[in-house]
Symmetry: C2
Subunit: 272 residues, 2 copies
């Protein structure tokens, strides 16, 4: 039993889809979410910079007494996980490994598709994780840079968005994928649109949901779950003004978001 | 007569549309372009951060012996121009004032539209400049966050892009604008698509082109033009790997882009 909060961080507010999955799966838990909107996006920045930013942000979660740190950011999960695991006094879970595991478990024809931002796809992080789990897997990837701005416009169920998705996914479907990994924390807001495009032929693997499942398993293993019947809750802090995703997520995810705190990042404070 | 180069900077590679306009208008001039791709985007960052970044980048142009500094970036033009003018030993020209001047000269019904990124529109920079020129002007603005990613996909003449543009511009046209300012350096690549959407009812004001015209006027006034018949040219340096716009711009603008240099920004080197 452990009433300390689960600490979650992201470069922006996209990680709130992971928070939503955690709230649904673990309603008794307190969650402290920290979005580094002052330095968003991490994608495109060098590995050492992303490591430094991630450590600085995770340190704030540790100060908030987090019992576990969830890296709800694809770029930080891909580049900073080893460093975070080495330096933090608590367990760390990212979004990439849980998504890759779920995809390998779901595929029947061993052909998996991965979509994400240009930076995530370029990093090859999902391909590495998938091949580590099954070296014979076939992988088709596609960067979908228009999807985040479409989500930020709140054009979630919209013919234009359907057309863009159709154009992005058509080659992957033609190549024969039977499973598609949503390799960006924003994408769960497009689950309906993606399902419309793919029909029942292709299984969707939502990294946010699978990350939450991995958190539950870890808390159970370490006996770190909050006592059942505890009043869970959500605190949100950002390092600068919110990006546009927050407005859309508030409605689409139906998250109870109270007052948003502003936290300054102290440069050089990280225990490098 | 002055054979020193024109220095041009931007947070990324979008400012190459200004370079293209300068090359067309002033073929005898040497141009040194510096894109701060390590810290792109400036939009969304605080005013003091944008001032500091702009001074650091402009210092590199001064080291390159620039005879004038062109701020080919809407955010830096909006936030850092006074600071740059105060600290640099050469004249500074941004993209916003020349665009606003051209729009006020072009409108017949004193109703001007402005499109740009979310950060540019939120800054109100064009509205301030337009109202300073004519306090009675009517202004309709619209943030168009999908246009840059559409351009970076190279979907320049594409039915999907036409549909997105139609949705963005329809309210401005309905409100009665007769002039539209392209308040983002990427947008000149969509001039054909924008013209298709607007027909001949609405005049397009291309900030890149008007900025180049302002540069020519200033060089003439200061007798800083390169000797006629000089072999002009273009050098490009970036502070990190190129963003995706470069690939698209190379083809769409038909700029002769040679080898791209990499320049490190020395933090704190700016003469604040």
């Amino acid at each position: 039993m452990d009433e300390r909060p689960i600490g979650v961080f992201d470069s922006g507010t996209g990680g709130l889809t992971v928070v939503k999955a955690l709230r649904d799966l673990l309603p008794d838990e307190k969650i402290f979410y920290l979005g580094d909107t002052a330095r968003v996006p991490y994608g495109g920045k060098s590995a050492s910079t992303v490591e430094r930013y991630s450590l600085e942000i995770a340190d704030i979660l540790i100060e908030e007494n987090a019992k576990i740190v969830v890296v709800a950011c694809n770029t930080a999960s891909s580049l900073a996980l080893p460093k975070l695991e080495k330096h933090l006094p608590v367990a760390v879970i990212g979004v990439i490994r849980p998504g890759a595991r779920a995809a390998v478990a779901a595929t029947r024809n061993d052909h998996i598709g991965v979509i994400g931002t240009r930076a995530t796809i370029k990093s090859g992080a999902y391909e590495r994780e998938l091949r580590a789990l099954n070296p014979d897997i076939r992988i088709s990837v596609r960067a979908c840079p228009l999807l985040v701005p479409l989500i930020e416009e709140a054009w979630l169920n919209d013919e234009l968005t359907d057309r863009v998705i159709g154009r992005y996914l058509e080659p992957l479907v033609r190549e024969g994928i039977d499973t598609l990994v949503l390799g960006c924390t924003h994408y769960p807001l497009l689950v309906d649109a993606l399902s419309r495009a793919l029909g029942e032929r292709v299984k969707l693997v939502d990294s946010a949901h699978n990350c939450a499942t991995a958190v539950r398993e870890l808390l159970d293993r370490q006996e770190f779950r909050a006592p059942s019947g505890t009043l869970g809750g959500l605190e949100i802090a950002l390092t600068d003004t919110p990006d546009n995703f927050l407005r859309v997520a508030r409605e689409a995810l139906q998250l109870e978001i109270g007052e948003i705190q502003l936290r300054e990042v102290l440069h050089g404070a990280a225990t490098l």
